[in-house]
Amino acid sequence: MADIRTETMTVNMGPQHPSTHGVLRLVLELDGETVRSAAPTIGYLHTGIEKTAEQKKWQQVIPLVERMDYLSAQSNSMAFCMSAETLLGIDVPERVKNIRVLIAELQRINSHLVWLGTHGMEVGAVSVMLYCFRERELLLNINELLAGFRMFPSYMRVGGLREDLPRGFHDAVRAFLDRFPPKLDEYEDLLTRNEIYLKRTQNVGVISQDDAVAYGLVGPIARAAGMDYDVRKYFPYLGYDTYDFQVPTQTAGDAYARYQVRVAEMRESVKLCRQALERISPTGAFAVDDPRITPPPKDRVYTEMEALIQHFLIYSQGFTVPEGEAYVPVEGPRGEHGFSIVSDGSNRPWRVKSRAPSLMACQALERMIVGGLIADVIAVIGSIDVVMGDVDR
């Protein structure tokens, strides 16, 4: 037994590793199967969106920010629009608020479904992926119906929405909401008491509440560690305080607790969607009634000179936003997400900064995997639900 090699081994995992959810690279130092140290390297997906946004007019920034966190596109654009609306000092109509709540909650289900599917697949439950993507397809179809685009609908606008709801929207959403809860039970049948899944996720990637605070972790990761922080409850926006919903929490702080929190969140989102859908009339105001911000309807553009001029001005030079800075947080699928924006009073933002929950989660990854097994690294990366587009921007 004298010639057993005992030195540690350095393993380069990524950036093109199938289970790193994009292009995360980890340099792991292994002692046998135990991870001794881990150094995450990010930036492979850096596209300079914040710099580009400074060159664009306010409305043109919306498609850009949707591409940051590409699994929760509409939460991003909603957060950006709400910051811009705060600077403009405008209050969107009640109907717009309800539609935004509905869209945000559908987006949360959408994002959690991708997470559940990929995370399940990585720990060996391939059928979960097939099931989740089946239901996600329905949500993408709803996006397509809504805006003609499945992943990045760009349906939000500063001051409201791009256009009114399409015909058949209520029925499509209602059909999804009726179909989805039993399917959620199906996923739970596959995982919640699955012996293999429990062994792969319980006591794996544990993070304590103190560490979660120190690393600025929010969203499902923090709620799985026992914090009840949810922007929707702490700083209600869009009238979330008038809806009836719970914030699920767990105390274990491990990968399994995060799974439980996210599945419970999907159930709460269904409840929220139903309440929002009840409040939305099929037609009505879909943007703030301000000719400086909202373009005139097309039939007026084709028939009235003033509407044509107004249309031309809005689409060529945009609108100006008063000088100031604002940060309006929203609860995205990954936790508190918001845009710090600074305006110099012109038609382009001076500075756009996204507070990216994935960046903080990725930073805390090292804390969660050091001391564990290398096989658990995959389960932990899956459980924190990082989106590299949000990390690198």
């Binding site: 990010i42 930036g43 850096h46 300079g48 914040e50 710099k51 580009t52 400074e54 060159q55 705060t86 600077l87 403009l88 000092g89 560490d211 605070v213 120190a214 690393y215 600025g216 972790l217 914090m227 922080y229 702490y234 700083f235 400086r292 060529s316 030079q317 945009g318 609108f319 100006t320 936003v321 008063p322 000088e323 100031g324 800075e325 604002a326 940060y327 947080p329 508190e336 710090s340 600074v342 110099d344 009073g345 012109s346 038609n347 382009r348 001076w350 500075r351 900064k353 507070r355 960046l359 903080m360 990725c362 930073q363 805390a364 690198d392 921007r393």
Partner: protein, 196 residues
């Protein structure tokens, strides 16, 4: 605590450190000198009156040429420009950039137990190299590490006492700091191949 109370409490505690404060659109903002940053941050975190246990965000803003240049309406080559205008009237006006200095490092603090937020801004000049430097908060919040590295990467603002102040999103060979306003948006950097 309301925004006004919060500002008052901080001003009472740090009469020298606080240069200005305002509440705009409900957000409390305190502008402090860079010498007092560590002290203010520690008090915010540990004092029972504030309990700001979360450091939500660290970022920076380059205020050079702020509000002076007209902004192109179509493409910069077309020559048609839009000047900053008070077209949409503003009843409570924003007091403007935090100072005459070029940069401002912006911290967003949040207190989970007391449910209040605070924005702290530290103006930094760039006349000399040592001016664009501020104390690091990594000793107080572990999460400040990457956020401060990102600010260094994008703005070239150094953080004194940071354990590993390297570029994070860009690569080491990158020249310049892209979110500075004097970095041209269409500038190309040479491609780098694998080492060796």
């Amino acid at each position: 605590m309301t925004a006004a109370d919060l500002i008052q409490a901080i001003q009472d505690r740090f009469p020298q450190g606080v240069r200005a404060a305002h509440s705009y659109r409900g957000d409390a903002t305190v502008i402090i000198s860079r010498e007092s940053l560590i002290e203010v941050a520690r008090t915010l975190k540990e004092d029972a009156a504030f309990q700001m246990n979360f450091l939500m965000d660290v970022t920076a803003v380059d205020f050079s040429s702020f509000g002076k240049k007209p902004s192109p309406a179509f493409f910069s080559s077309s020559g048609v420009a839009v000047r900053p205008s008070p077209e949409i009237p503003d009843r409570e006006r924003w007091p403007g950039p935090p100072g005459p200095e070029r940069f401002a490092v912006v911290y967003h603090f949040f207190s989970l137990p007391l449910k209040h937020r605070l924005r702290v801004e530290v103006p930094l000049g760039d006349a000399e190299e040592a001016d664009a430097e501020v104390d690091s908060l990594v000793s107080l919040w572990a999460g400040a590490d990457w956020l401060e590295r990102e600010v260094w990467d994008m703005f070239g603002i150094r953080f004194r006492g940071h354990p590993n102040l390297k570029r994070i999103l860009l690569y080491e060979e990158f020249v310049g700091h892209p979110l500075r306003k004097d970095y041209p948006v269409n500038k190309r950097q040479p491609l780098i191949g694998p080492v060796n």
